[in-house]
């Protein structure tokens, strides 16, 4: 029997390190010598911290939301007496969890299973077999295999991967480069981070195969500095791969040489754009430039460079090992294979999800995600982050595949999927994304730099109850100009969140502008919290919980909110006992 604990960033944030400590002391106190293995994320973020008990026959039992008390129970009942602690069991072979059962794991094949800091674990699960196979193939053969698989870039645009590889390979140049884009800028997405933290070797192996196919001797991983754990695990993985002769010169005894190094980003969303990323790699301000020439023609130091996303690379070893046909057998007509999503927002079971392309949004949100928190009504799902859009309930049957998602006005993006319910204000969401893009615009193009600012001003005034007739039309007009006049994807797609919310939720805009009302009760300027004097029983709970102490009152008299001080956080409404329900929002 062994015990496994999920130590991804989000497990750690939920307290997994503490769990590890308690577990060790508990085992010691029972004089039990069990192996404790660390692992990355299985993706069940909503159940973190997680703990697996793996029996000698391989059966795995996963316990969730672990606390000190639960550990003690697990050791006493499960480990010592062999009885399951049913109440906290979240997954077992006999009783598979819906969240995991509906998934198909290719890119995440090892996540939450292996110890990412031990290359042996990766190799035991077939790791580096694909590289072994690849160096016996011709580079055309590899590119052909990728073409058969139908793999498209997972970084957002969905460009066929084989095409970029082929172009980089055929373009003239002595030296060529492979770059892995691990800048993951979408604020609300963490697929790439989880892959790097949980299975770094799959990315290294994918890069090495690409290097062989293209004729590059060096790979660079451009990783967000905000991901310290991912960087640390990558460093360990690179070192171990070198020791085993899987990176470096004479890989696996062949003449093929390939090295990988890490470069940390410095916090700029636009550096996810490939030409900006290259500028940043060269130590410059990360500002995009006009394409062509494409990086495949003239990239890092002017040499042919192939840039792919983390998830794209993680799929490559699987494709080479299992064959392009097996990958193409999954998914839909135009979008092959699987896609990883980071499911978050007002969802019951948030986390990391990998599904075959073509599954409907509804299945992802309801079957896997378990529907909306607190039984509220679904309003929209946001795909593609600041470059994407909000898809309404009426379109929930849309399959997740590049073309169908684009047809809704959103984009597939890199995999951020944020679910919104009736308490989310769509005008506020548009404002939120515009605020983001406006701050992240590099400033090179007038339309992007000034246009997003003007759009943000309009959205801010609508949210403040100062919207004017004609604002919606004006937003439309500027949006088109910004889209047309921008050099890179940031500006070109910045209007998407605004355009999709206008398209599907125009009545919400109109309520803000014409009636000065926020139907979702979110826009601070348009709502007030008030205590109903007839219902208030002067229990003082709200006054104690008000973060700015602006509720005053005394015994037997109804409490009153000082409207000048109130920050409209809604805390009072939440804490006022349901039997009184004295706080009202208007």
């Amino acid at each position: 029997m062994k015990i496994r604990i999920g130590l991804g960033s989000c497990g750690i944030a939920a307290g997994a390190l503490k769990v590890m400590e308690v577990l060790k002391t508990e085992l010691d106190s029972h004089n039990l010598k069990l192996e404790i293995q660390q692992t990355g994320c299985i993706g069940m973020c909503h159940n973190e911290p997680l703990l697996d008990i793996i029996e000698d026959n391989g059966q795995t039992f996963t316990y969730g939301k672990i606390t000190e008390k639960i550990i003690i129970a697990i050791i006493k009942q499960h480990v010592l007496e062999g009885k399951l602690v049913e109440k906290h069991l979240v997954n077992s072979c006999a009783n598979p969890n819906d969240f995991l059962a509906e998934q198909v794991r290719v890119a995440l094949r090892n996540c939450g299973i292996i110890d990412p800091e031990q290359i042996g674990h990766y190799i035991d699960r077939g790791g580096y077999e694909a590289l072994k196979k690849a160096i016996t193939m011709s580079s055309e053969g590899i590119i052909e295999e990728i073409k058969t698989s139908g793999l498209r870039g997972r970084g957002g645009a969905g460009f066929p991967t084989w095409f970029k590889w082929n172009a980089t390979r055929n373009n003239p140049g002595e030296i060529k480069h492979i770059v892995c884009n691990a800048d993951e800028g979408d604020p609300g997405a963490f697929m790439d981070r989880s892959v790097l933290e949980s299975d770094p070797h799959s990315v290294l192996e994918g890069m090495a195969i690409a290097g062989y196919a293209i004729g590059a001797a060096e790979g660079i991983i451009y990783c967000r500095a905000e991901y310290p754990l991912a960087i640390r695990r990558l460093e360990i993985a690179i070192k171990q791969a070198k020791e085993k002769g899987l990176l470096g010169s004479n890989i696996l005894g062949s003449p093929f040489a390939f090295d990988i190094r890490i470069k940390q980003g410095a916090g700029a969303f636009v550096c996810g754009e490939e030409t900006a990323l290259i500028a940043s790699l060269e130590g410059e301000r990360g500002m995009p430039r006009l394409k062509p020439p494409f990086p495949a023609q003239s990239g890092y130091w002017g040499e042919p460079t192939n840039i792919n996303n983390v998830e794209t690379f993680a799929n490559v070893p699987w494709i080479i090992a299992e064959g392009g046909k097996a990958f193409a057998a999954m998914g839909s007509q135009t979008s092959k294979g699987t896609k990883v999503f980071a499911l978050a927002g007002k969802i019951n079971r948030g986390g990391l999800v990998e599904v075959p392309m073509g599954l409907s949004l509804k299945d992802v949100i309801y079957k896997i995600g378990g529907g909306i928190k607190e039984n509220r009504n679904f309003k929209a799902v946001q795909l593609g982050g600041p470059s994407g859009g909000c898809i309404p309930a009426a379109l929930l049957d849309t399959p997740v595949e590049y073309e169908s998602i684009t047809a809704t006005g959103a984009i597939m993006g890199s995999g951020g999927m944020v679910v919104m319910d009736e308490t989310t204000c769509m005008v506020d969401v548009a404002r939120f994304f515009l605020d983001f893009t406006q701050k992240e615009s590099c400033g090179k193009c007038v339309q992007c730099r000034i246009g997003t600012k003007r759009m943000l001003e309009i959205l801010e005034r609508i949210c403040n109850g100062e919207g004017q007739p004609g604002d919606i039309e004006l937003l439309h007009e500027i949006a088109l100009k910004v889209g047309e006049g921008s050099l890179c994807g940031l500006g070109q797609s910045a209007p998407n969140p605004v355009l999709t919310t206008i398209r599907y939720f125009q009545e919400e805009y109109e309520a803000h502008i014409n009636e000065k009302k926020c139907p979702a009760m979110q826009c601070k300027a348009l709502i007030t919290y008030r205590i109903d004097p007839d219902k208030c029983k002067s229990c003082s709970i709200c006054a104690k919980k008000c973060p700015v102490n602006c509720i005053k009152g005394e015994k037997k008299k109804p409490y009153v909110i000082d409207q000048n001080e109130c920050i409209k956080c809604g805390n009072c409404m939440e804490v006022c006992p349901t039997k009184f329900n004295a706080v009202i929002v208007e």
Binding site: G188, F190, A268, S280, G345, M420
Partner: protein, 179 residues
Amino acid sequence: MLCKCEKEDQNQAADSPDLSMLDEVLDEYRSQAGSLVTVLQKAQDLYGYLPLTILRHIAEEMNIKPAQVYGVATFYTQFRLTPVGKYIIHLCQGTACHVNSSEPIETALIQELKIKPGETTPDKLFTLTNVACLGCCSLAPVMMINGQAYGPLNPNKAVSIVKDFYAGEQQASEGGENA
């Protein structure tokens, strides 16, 4: 550019940084083309922020125009040109946190600390910064203080966590005085 730096430099004269701390880094990267971002990152690790004297030193040593160094340092949000507090509060304003009401948390923290995001309290204890997604969206809304994540928050919890840090500091300093 010079005149502006010189003026600001006078304010910084009080804690003029030890330039030699950077020697090792400069020796390693001086000859590597394209390593400016990396050098700035290492310098910030060493000094906690990037004082203008350091920027000028890097420019001189790496033979890059000061304006270019300054340009790069101000382009990326990771680089700070002013000192930070002992506790850096990274308040998540990513999409998942936003839809789970992270804004009132910001307002509450602003009222409690009496500083705006990007600023540091006068006692140099807290720096408040907004970040986009800490990657623990299922704990949304989240903040991170010196590497430790807290969530799910509400304004009240956030304020009381900060107050706990503050109380801990006061106790430590009182304890120190008694000892």
